[in-house]
Symmetry: C2
């Protein structure tokens, strides 16, 4: 067996440990929310973390990488070696103690965060968030892949991206978004969102969300959909991808967020069999992942054509709320652009501002320019600056997201990158299939799915994000597509 | 750190791997029944199995055992060393390849068994059952803890028990049970079971079953209750014990089987904190475990006093079925003694015969006196001999139980041992608290639970089954208690 085959086999075992880790965390989110004692689980998680770390950093890996570099590799093998080398170079810089401490802290911090959010009391979470930030700083220092700590963390989620690269993308968009929100809200014919203040039965919402993803070709033989308080998607094996749905938020969050998670899941489910159980068997970056989820959620799932097909069914499910509301009004209502407090419920225009806020705060936090204790205040004043409103409490402000509790600092910017990648890819799709939206009117979504599978999903992590976007669209990330998309779409909706 | 403390720490990690293994299998049973591809999961299970095996058999363990033997140990430490030595001596005899092959085969065999049972087609399962039996024989040969292979397997589930010891217990009871069943059925005033042929809403059944275990002090902060096709209990950490419930079988199976699983769970939940994360943190044998589950299910859960409390609630839930049925009739009906095909639905008298059947078949199967291909025929003819009826198909015959598919051969006899242990322990309980059943009339179950916790649960595996039964009841296993219990109870019910 040559070195690359040996590495492949060695990392198949590591992938299995990652999948086991994913089950531990899926189960915690889905099944253990009411639990008093999570210590047992936290020790299991940190044990698996340790086993992964030991295997990635084993001397054998270093030796095999050197041997494999001398081999004549095909495209997949080269990509595999690139990713293995990356993981190895990252892991050997992290002491085992730090790795397990981060794992254990994240479980305890998630619990504190949950309580803090429920009680809207930042002080409950503050101590463990401080520890989390310190651990992430220490991790970034040890890794040292970029001159600045924040870029080192960003690179973990979006390989190749840096703070400067992202700031150069976000900065010019920021004022445009702020202006555009104002412009839309100056319209004299704004959509009316009052139908979403009504009650929608939770079981019916869940049923509809399942109906939709079934129609979108989610295969329940290789995955599940469960109820949770914070939706997410996770792979528990190459052919076991699970999404989760929340029915507690105002309608139609359940529907749109389920389509969003479907977009993540279908990416993972579409990776070609050749890559199963290898390090390449996952989406290539968080940004590209988000491009898929947000394309399905927003570009497809909030399009007029989509609702031309689905709306009659929704009217049947909720006649008391929708019987007398024309489809066009409903479609306008689910595309309302309005500054609001919660990121996950934000519209396509203000969403970017929510991300830019977090991006700027994370940068300062990691550089030590601001302290954890100052976060609530800074959050609120920045929020006013960007969105013109001030959160009434920390639950709707700095405490709303789970990410920091899990140590994910540097993750947020990939969400907005996803919007940008997604609109650019979709522009290409329309160039090739200009009549595609007509499919949606008939409840037909496989042409889009097959295109994405063919051009993106099947490759897993073979191509890095920047290579992939160039391969698919013929150019580097270009924010014009996003700006054009929102301008065209929302001027129509706001009748400007 | 001295040797026993080092061993304790080393085995804490092994326990964590066992808990992770338990989650993998809980999740498979609860969440993956509809899945097409289980290969990913089967590889994860066999990986954890391998990691456990490597850790148990590590050279370090052998060395530490020798060192610990020289130390002055307290009672808990001695028991710990006894169990660690046992596990080590078993594991070092098994090659890693055999261990992982058994793990992988069991997952695939469970799938085939499920399909075979659904289609009532033994041939679907035959090949993998043959492989399973061969693997278990090989395992028993390698272990060689007893002169005969079957005793070696039995000993894995009921430490210290042998085929001869059990045969000497079962053989004299066998004809007594057969006779007693006939005698009861000669009564001219038999209970009427027609109310169980009616329809009982599944959601209501589940709700009632949860209500009951809550009243029995099952703590949902440290455990869960989920729906499955075959009920079981599993520990995913010292303080995460999950039971499962089936609502598909004829009423009141959902209720009685939930109380049964509760009995297992409450044993695990009652183990004292000092033993958490140690090798002693589990019930001491399958027989003792079953003594607890069957005590709650049958002695308590099918007693008149229990139903004096619960029956009005059941009448409220199912007025269309129970409104006009007096409690006494209901109580008689849930204690009908009648030969039937399915073990898990069998009454307290015929149950033992179901076990003796399996015990005798397993013995011959492992000794090679009968072949897997002959099983359906042998099952049916033995069934007629013991219970006087012949299963109409293999789904209701040889294919009914999951155990063999998982490689559990030698497990069944512990079920009947559980009945015997349970009645003996309960006789002692009544000696100390003669008015205990009056508690049940008031929905008060904590006096019994506290007694069991105090005398049995808290000790985990500190005492072996035979030591424990002597400690609690003052004598060795004595089948007179069981025979007296069924005679007194059922003569009353059958008005003989």
């Amino acid at each position: 067996m040559n070195a690359i085959k040996e590495l492949r086999e060695h990392f198949a075992e590591i992938m299995r440990l990652h999948y086991i880790q994913a089950l531990l965390s899926w189960d915690q989110e889905v099944n253990m929310m009411e639990y008093k004692g999570l210590e047992g689980r936290s020790k299991q998680v940190s044990l698996i973390e340790k086993l992964i770390h030991q295997r990635v950093t084993s001397e054998k890996v270093g030796r095999l990488i050197k041997e494999a570099e001398k081999l004549d590799l095909n495209e997949i093998e080269s990509a595999m070696l690139r990713e293995i080398t990356r993981e190895y170079n990252l892991a050997i810089k992290l002491p085992e103690k730090l790795v397990t401490e981060i794992a254990e802290t994240s479980i305890l911090a998630a619990k504190e965060w949950r309580e803090a959010r429920a009680k809207s009391d930042f002080s409950i979470f503050q101590k463990l968030l401080e520890k989390t930030v310190e651990l992430q700083k220490e991790k970034a220092e040890k890794l040292g892949t970029h001159p600045d700590l924040y870029s080192t963390l960003i690179d973990l989620y979006e390989p190749g991206a840096t703070y400067d690269w992202i700031a150069n993308i976000f900065n010019p968009i920021k004022p445009k978004l702020i202006d555009f929100v104002k412009k839309l809200n100056s319209s004299s014919d704004k959509p009316d969102g009052s139908i979403f203040k009504k009650h929608y039965d939770e079981d019916k919402q869940f049923e509809l969300s399942s109906k939709i993803i079934k129609k979108l070709n989610f295969d329940f033989g290789y995955g599940r959909q469960d109820k949770v308080t914070h939706p997410f998607t996770t792979s528990l094996a190459s052919m076991d991808v699970r999404i989760t749905t929340r029915t507690t938020e105002p309608f139609p969050d359940c529907i749109t967020s389920t389509i969003h998670e479907y977009g993540h899941a279908i990416y993972e489910m579409g990776i070609k069999k050749e890559l199963h159980d290898t390090i390449l068997c996952t989406g290539t970056s968080m940004g590209i992942h988000e491009s898929q989820s947000r394309m399905w959620e927003n570009i497809v799932g909030r399009s007029k054509e989509f609702w031309m097909y689905w709306y009659p069914t929704f009217q049947e499910y909720f006649p008391e709320n929708l019987k007398d509301v024309p489809m066009e009004e409903f479609h306008r209502a689910i595309n309302i652009v309005q500054p609001s407090f919660i990121r996950v419920n934000a519209d396509e225009v203000t969403y970017g501002l929510h991300i830019i806020l977090r991006f700027e705060i994370e940068k300062d936090l990691i550089e030590g320019k601001i302290q954890v204790s100052e976060l609530p205040e800074i959050w609120n004043s920045k929020f006013e600056e960007l969105l013109g409103i001030v959160p009434p409490n920390d639950a709707q402000g700095v405490l709303q997201d789970v990410h920091w509790s899990g140590g994910s600092i540097g993750y947020f910017p990939t969400y907005f990158l996803g919007n940008l990648y997604g609109t650019q890819i979709y522009a290409k799709v329309l160039e090739k299939m200009p009549n595609l939206p007509d499919d949606y009117k008939k409840g037909e979504f496989s042409n889009l799915l097959n295109y994405l599978k063919e051009e993106i999903h099947q490759f897993g992590s073979i191509y890095r994000a920047n290579d992939l976007i160039k391969r698919v669209t013929g150019e580097d990330l270009n924010t014009d597509y996003f700006l054009k998309y929102i301008e065209e779409k929302f001027k129509l909706i706001y009748r400007l």
